[in-house]
């Protein structure tokens, strides 16, 4: 079945099997391997992408369901060679160890922080319930999201 969608601002079209998951479409058809497959059961959040502006888990969406939509992956966040403020904050605050969950964390965090520059620790922890990290104990992730949220609003 033919599907077309705008991925990171670029129009794409492919002929896919109906059972192809969106995360496989992004990784295997388009070579965008930023969205990781962790649990593959809608729990860990490492496959989080933006579908028509909302954060969703791409392991639980069919590519055919995403036909005609606009998608942003972690590869689409940086603009003109400059990291997105949330990416920069994860770098600055060392919000990762192995990095496997990081693309999903950042994609969830950018939506959590949008219009919300002064997130509390509790709001961040609650807002990232859909993303699991098995390395960091979340401390630096929370610091990174807090700093990233301020940076996204233009603060320091």
């Amino acid at each position: 079945m033919k599907v077309s969608m705008t991925v990171n601002g670029k129009a794409t079209e492919r002929d896919v099997e109906p059972r192809m998951l969106l995360v496989h479409f992004l990784r295997d058809e388009l070579g965008l391997t930023g969205a990781n497959i962790g649990c593959d059961t809608t729990q860990c959040g490492s496959c989080t992408i933006h579908l028509n502006g909302t954060a969703v888990k791409s392991c639980t969406v069919l590519a055919v369901q995403a036909d005609g939509t606009s998608i942003t992956t972690i590869e689409g966040l940086a603009q003109n060679g400059n990291l997105h403020p949330m990416q920069q904050a994860f770098w600055d605050k060392h919000g990762l160890q192995c990095g496997f969950c990081t693309p999903g964390m950042i994609m969830a965090a950018t939506k959590l922080a949008a219009g919300n520059p002064h997130l509390t620790d509790e709001e961040i922890r609650h807002g990232l319930e859909g993303n699991l990290c098995r390395c960091t104990g979340y401390e630096n992730i929370v610091r990174a999201v807090k700093a990233g949220a301020q940076a996204m609003a233009g603060g320091d």
């Binding site: 109906p18 059972r19 192809m20 059961t41 809608t42 954060a55 888990k57 639980t60 969406v61 859909g130």
Partner: protein, 313 residues
């Protein structure tokens, strides 16, 4: 994990969805957040998926008269963020407790209740609120009350070729309060025990109507009429609530479920606890007029006493 192979059709209207189902059979898919996981685990292999996820008019919440109509394709995130003081608190808050933000952005109210997972939250809430389920099929439209909609483990009153189009819930007035309390599975966020209370309180603080339902520990959302009957006519004191909540054990039936996350016995013990929490919160929300009146009387009494004291001087 790829799901098993299937043929895929997309419906642009409810009529087309019903026609496609009559022609091909299979399963309807909306957000897919219940169906795709079970297909990936090979627990379901419908062979045909009919995508109803883009049908106009099935999305969103509208107020009509004394009730709210929630389109079947409305996401949990939309319900959780819905801002109307007459919208039932229990429903708004339960929707916000489902899964996680990403799941709530994609999962739909209709898909949730049509799937009728015993560990789901919304069936319990809709049962306590006395919701009405609107259904379209080849033989026209019909409506089913919540008491008759959930028929068993993953089973509802929906026939194979019927589409759930909307769920309707009564608006809350100043004398009503509802609440949902949940013992979370810490990993999946599903309910190990979920309790919903829907209470009406008189201006003098007396409970005049009370509907309670539980889920997570029974094969389907289960009404707890013993609890409501024990509270009607009483003040919502801690003692009265605790005594009424304990009666939920009479209504659980013989099939309380347990698994590696929590035994049946543990869930049974927790049922009165979470029913009690839901009752307390719902009573608090319903009873604000009575509380305010009492506060005003108390303050007015103090003021009058003070005036009299000074006049006597």
């Amino acid at each position: 994990m790829y799901p098993p192979k299937f043929d895929y059709y997309r419906a642009d209207s409810v009529d087309e969805a019903v026609a496609l189902m009559g022609q091909h059979g299979g399963k309807f898919i909306a957000g897919g957040h219940s169906l795709l996981p079970v297909m990936k685990m090979r627990l379901a292999d419908p062979g045909v998926l009919i995508d109803i996820g883009r049908i106009d008019g099935l999305r969103g919440i509208t107020r009509s008269g004394n009730s709210f109509r929630i389109g079947a394709l409305t996401t949990h995130a939309t319900v959780a963020a819905y801002d109307d003081r007459h919208f039932p608190d229990a429903l708004k808050h339960a929707a916000g407790m489902i899964g996680d933000p990403q799941v709530r952005n994609r999962g739909t109210v209709g898909g949730n209740v049509a799937h009728a997972d015993p560990a789901s939250d919304l069936p319990t809430v809709f049962l306590a609120l006395g919701a009405t389920f609107h259904i379209a099929g080849a033989n026209g439209a019909r409506s089913v009350h919540a008491a008759n909609f959930f028929t068993g483990l993953f089973e509802t009153a929906l026939a194979e070729n019927e589409v759930l189009t909307a769920v309707e819930v009564p608006a809350e007035g100043i004398e009503n309060g509802s609440a949902y309390a949940k013992l979370f599975n810490p990993a999946s966020r599903y309910a190990m025990v979920g309790a919903c209370a829907n209470i009406t309180v008189s201006l003098t603080g007396e409970c005049t109507a009370c509907s309670v339902a539980v889920g997570g520990l029974t094969p389907k959302a289960t009404a707890a009429p013993s609890v409501g009957a024990a509270l009607v006519g009483k003040q919502l004191t801690d003692d009265n609530i605790a005594a009424a909540a304990a009666l939920v054990l009479n209504d659980l039936g013989g099939d309380v479920m347990g698994d590696i996350h929590a035994s049946a016995e543990y869930r049974r013990q927790m049922a009165p606890v979470f029913v009690g929490r839901a009752l307390t919160l719902a009573g608090h929300r319903a009873g604000w007029v009575a509380r305010l009146q009492k506060n005003v009387k108390d303050v007015a009494g103090d003021v009058l006493e003070e005036i009299e004291r000074r006049l006597r001087k």
